[in-house]
């Protein structure tokens, strides 16, 4: 995808050195090559190409109906592409039935076999493979230990809590040591606390086992906190692929910017280009930001966007340093979230957000409702969105 190269490079250092997608010599493990899936007149996945590398924790992120689950099910073999190829480890998977594919999947509903114990559920994959009894016993014991369910081995699924079921499903999907583990909304059924814990556990597990995980989720926090890379999907296409910081800090399109986190978007036109400094004229005044000029032209309709937490909010009468975008408005609403306070400021009929971390214990709110305030955004915090 066409990220602005300078930002991508700058953000690359945030994560560890693991980045096979930047290495032209690296061979991808999973390749979707021009894959299309149609159901009658409806197109679920539209001419989509994507490469996932070994040991990646790859997230397919998007709202429901964007085709992310269909994409995963085509890799597992439950759906057949209408057009295009799905390649795993160099092998075209066309015509390979699900039971012969070296992928395993953890289902959203967990799909635990209700008539089997935890132990039997986990052993199922090995039994189908024809592994010797003694080895099955050992590997199941190891898997039970891995997910900390030794004590519950002889329980039936209906006797387990949601979190325990999730771990059984995980152990069952991992036991065959799949080349790729597919996780379909794996944490959707868990409550918030447990979900956060499990996120970290999953990442630790994936790193320890050295496996490739592909996760489907509609929850951006899940994708951001776990994934090495995220593919943001929109209506059967990929809107952007990138590491979590790139997706967040350098969204390629309005759709991505809007989908991931909170963002203020202001429509405008390119007014002036001066070297790497671009001025956009908007209804809220001119905004200047550093941007490579080759991708834009004067008069072009664009949008300027910035994140609420990169906005400073001060009283209108307070003096501020120049050299940054300043927007004056009235406080419309204040949302106190404990760790953050979000201010909604109304400016020329548009509502902008500013988020302030509550770094010290709050005794008195410095800014109140209906107060005149100024929002300050540094030039490098502004994003130019052309699409």
């Amino acid at each position: 995808m066409s990220d602005t190269p300078k930002t991508t490079a700058a953000l690359g250092a945030v994560r560890s050195a693991f980045a096979p997608w930047n290495d032209p010599a690296a061979k991808p493990l999973v390749v979707f090559d021009g894959v299309t899936k149609r159901y009658g007149a409806e197109t679920a996945v539209n001419d989509l190409s994507l490469a996932v590398y070994e040991r990646e924790f790859f997230a397919l992120l998007g709202p429901s109906g964007c085709g992310k689950s269909t994409l995963m099910r085509m890799l597992a073999g439950f759906e057949t592409p209408t057009a295009g190829r799905v390649v795993l480890a160099g092998e075209d998977l066309a015509g390979v039935p699900p039971h012969l594919r070296p992928t395993n999947m953890m289902f959203q509903s967990y799909a635990l076999f209700p008539h089997m114990t935890v132990e039997k559920n986990i052993a199922f994959g090995l039994q189908m493979e024809g592994v010797a009894k003694a080895e099955i016993h050992d590997r199941v014991a190891a898997a039970l230990k891995l997910v900390k369910l030794e004590a519950l081995a002889s329980r039936k699924p209906h006797q387990l809590s949601g979190g325990q079921r999730q771990r059984v499903a995980l152990a069952r999907a991992l036991i065959k040591r799949p080349k790729v583990l597919l996780l379909d909304e794996p944490l959707g059924a868990l409550d918030r606390k447990l979900r956060e814990e499990t996120q970290f556990e999953l990442v630790a597990l994936q790193e320890r086992l050295g496996l490739t995980f592909i996760i489907v989720t509609h929850d951006q926090d899940e994708a951001m906190s776990m994934a090495t890379r995220i593919a943001v999907m929109d209506k059967g296409r990929i809107a952007q692929v990138g590491t979590p910081p790139v997706i967040y800090e350098a969204p390629a399109t309005r759709y991505v910017a809007d989908f991931i986190g909170d963002i203020n978007i202001v429509e405008g036109k390119v007014a002036a280009i001066d070297g790497r400094r671009v001025t956009i004229s908007t209804a809220l005044g001119d905004m200047a930001l550093p941007e490579a000029a080759d991708s834009i032209a004067i008069g072009q309709e664009v949008a300027v966007a910035w994140r609420p937490e990169k906005t400073r909010i001060v009283r209108a009468d307070e003096p501020v340093a120049g050299g940054q975008t300043m927007i004056e408005g009235a406080v419309h609403d204040i949302g106190y979230l404990g760790d953050w306070t979000t201010y909604v400021v109304e400016v020329a009929g548009q509502r902008l957000r500013a988020a302030v971390a509550n770094a010290s214990r709050l005794v008195e709110r410095p800014i109140s409702w209906d107060e005149r305030v100024r929002l300050c955004v540094a030039p490098e915090s502004l994003l130019l969105l052309t699409r």
């Binding site: 439950f78 699900p98 039971h99 509903s109 799909a111 076999f113 008539h115 089997m116 039997k120 994959g125």
Partner: protein, 262 residues
């Protein structure tokens, strides 16, 4: 709850049960009648059960009935289960509406018509009527019931269980026998018991489709009753009621409770 409505409830319940079961209770009571006369109570006795045991004709008929019921129910269970699978799994196939109509038709079809049409079929094809014709006829009319029972279970079946099994390396056959069948087994068993019971009870279709040497118990009872009801008939009927009761209770237990682990 006030005592008045409780009284009303109890009365309604008693009357309802009386309406349903009084004739059967009378039949059972009189099967233990010592008297030769059906309607006159002559003291308690089990002599008619002994007499049944001595009656070769009745015993032969009972044995044939059980054999017909077992074989036809087995047939019906296989065909009915497959029909239910086809109807729930393949939501669109050519002639689906027609097929589902054909599966359910024998349930609503008057038995006389089913019996007569089967008779015409057997005659025109030139099959000698006997054990197998009754069995086939019974399988035909009971498989619809099996399909209905199994289908109700399949509708709530989570397909991702089968996908999970396939994903873990199970071939389609393994998926069916290790996952699908064990999970729907209670419904399949209930369907079998229902088919068995229906076959056991049937008089009309059996009359049309049986031949010499394969007289079923209901037919035998019916023909004897025409010569007058004997206490012996009451005894054999009581035995049949007992058998059917056991089967029906078994069927309902099977649907309620899942099967133990494989």
């Amino acid at each position: 709850m006030n005592p008045r409505s409780r009284f009303l409830d109890a009365t309604a319940l008693t009357l309802g049960f009386a309406f349903l079961y009084l004739p059967i209770v009378i039949l059972i009571v009189y099967s233990f009648n010592a008297s030769q006369l059906v309607t006159v109570w002559g003291g308690f006795s089990t002599r008619w059960y002994g007499a049944v045991w001595q009656n070769r004709q009745l015993l032969d008929a009972a044995w044939i009935t059980v054999k017909v019921a077992a074989v036809s129910a087995a047939f019906a269970t296989i065909v009915g289960t497959l029909a239910a699978l086809a109807l729930t799994r393949y939501l669109r196939f050519r002639g689906r509406t027609l097929f589902s109509g054909l599966v359910y038709a024998p349930i609503v079809m008057p038995e006389v018509i089913t019996g007569l049409s089967l008779l015409l079929l057997f005659v025109s094809v030139g099959i000698d009527r006997g054990f197998w014709t009754v069995t086939v006829a019974h399988a035909t009319f009971t498989c619809g019931f099996v399909a209905v029972v199994v289908q109700s279970r399949l509708i709530t079946f989570d397909r991702s269980l089968e996908e999970a099994a396939a994903d873990l390396g199970a071939t389609p056959w393994q998926v069916f026998f290790r996952i699908t069948l064990p999970i729907i087994a209670p419904a399949v068993i209930a369907g079998f018991l229902l088919a068995f019971t229906l076959s056991l009870d049937d008089l009309v279709i059996a009359s049309f489709t049986t031949g010499p040497g394969s007289t079923t118990l209901p037919m035998r009872i019916y023909s004897q009753v025409r010569l007058g009801v004997t206490p012996e008939i009451n005894a054999i009927c009581t035995l049949m009621i007992a058998a059917v009761t056991v089967l029906v209770i078994g069927a309902s237990l099977a649907t309620k409770r899942g099967l133990p682990a494989t």
